[in-house]
Assembly symmetry: C2
Homo-oligomer: 148 residues x 2
DNA sequence: TTAAGTGCAAAATCTTTGCAAATGT
DNA sequence: ACATTTGCAAAGATTTTGCACTTAA
């Protein structure tokens, strides 16, 4: 338990260092909260959790630096609110590869990253060059399924 | 020319009536602006165009009533700003069918509705029920292609 | 020691709400 | 005439900016 926690913190420390960011307690705290959630988390929700410890402005800055460095990626939920999830693999500064399907629950509005779902091929009209695909599947998530 | 305009206005009049909305000049104006653009348009951009004639609050209300009635649908661009485009076919109150691929240009940030691109099939994990798919293809649009 | 990061205050935006006046049916 | 819609003012919410203090390297 303690060991696991230590290891995780060590990973985060490493992650921050790799990206040229200083290891500070607000940043570690934010990384912990984001990874502890199965679904992507929004700035407002994060703020509810860490709001007593971390200033709102700091939170904004932490999230945008994380996004810029490719540590987290941003997905917009059905209300257009930005939510954040850890980048799984090889995201680097200014180049994200969050090439997986996102699932957005229309009941609880949670955003899930579905890494295991394969991306479809899309054929675009002439003169449109494809860089990346953002696929949001909207429906009922496993949790909300149960309760109905 | 004049005839075409008249016919279009007549269509819009009809459209508003069908949806139980009064035919007012701000509403007709907004419908005109939205249809005159090939790409989806954001509230801020619309405001730049009609801002002298239509109050900002009115614009918000017009857009949300249009969306609610299924006259326009809302797509979020890369910055999470809502953009609006006419619903092509059979959208009705509280039930949108904007089941087409959207293309977002990473240079000019324009949002295009690609009705002709067919939707792929997505297989979700167990206990996730799919209602709809939102597919955003990000890349370079035809216009920005030319200029590079 | 010193460059980066944080917190606070304040500004700038964005969005919503309430209400009186105007408008469409 | 009546219910909707609009415009204005004001409140509320969200996001950004500036600057002095703190902290990690």
């Amino acid at each position: 338990m303690t060991k696991e926690k230590t290891e995780k913190s060590k990973d985060f420390t490493e992650l921050l260092r790799e990206n040229g960011l200083k290891v500070t307690s607000p940043r570690l705290r934010v990384l912990n909260e984001i990874t502890h959630k199965k679904a992507a988390i929004s700035q407002p929700d994060l703020e509810k959790i860490v709001g007593r410890d971390i200033d709102r402005v700091t939170l904004y800055r932490i999230l945008s630096s994380f996004e810029e460095k490719g540590i987290v990626h941003k997905i917009f939920d059905l209300n257009g609110t930005a939510t954040y999830a850890m980048c799984t693999s090889n995201c680097t500064e200014n180049h994200h590869h969050d090439q997986h399907v996102h699932f957005i629950c229309s009941v609880c509005n949670s955003v899930y990253c579905l890494d295991e779902v394969s991306l479809p091929k899309i054929t675009l009209p002439r003169h449109f060059a494809l860089h990346s695909l953002a696929i949001n599947a909207v429906g009922l998530c496993a949790n909300c399924q149960k309760e109905n």
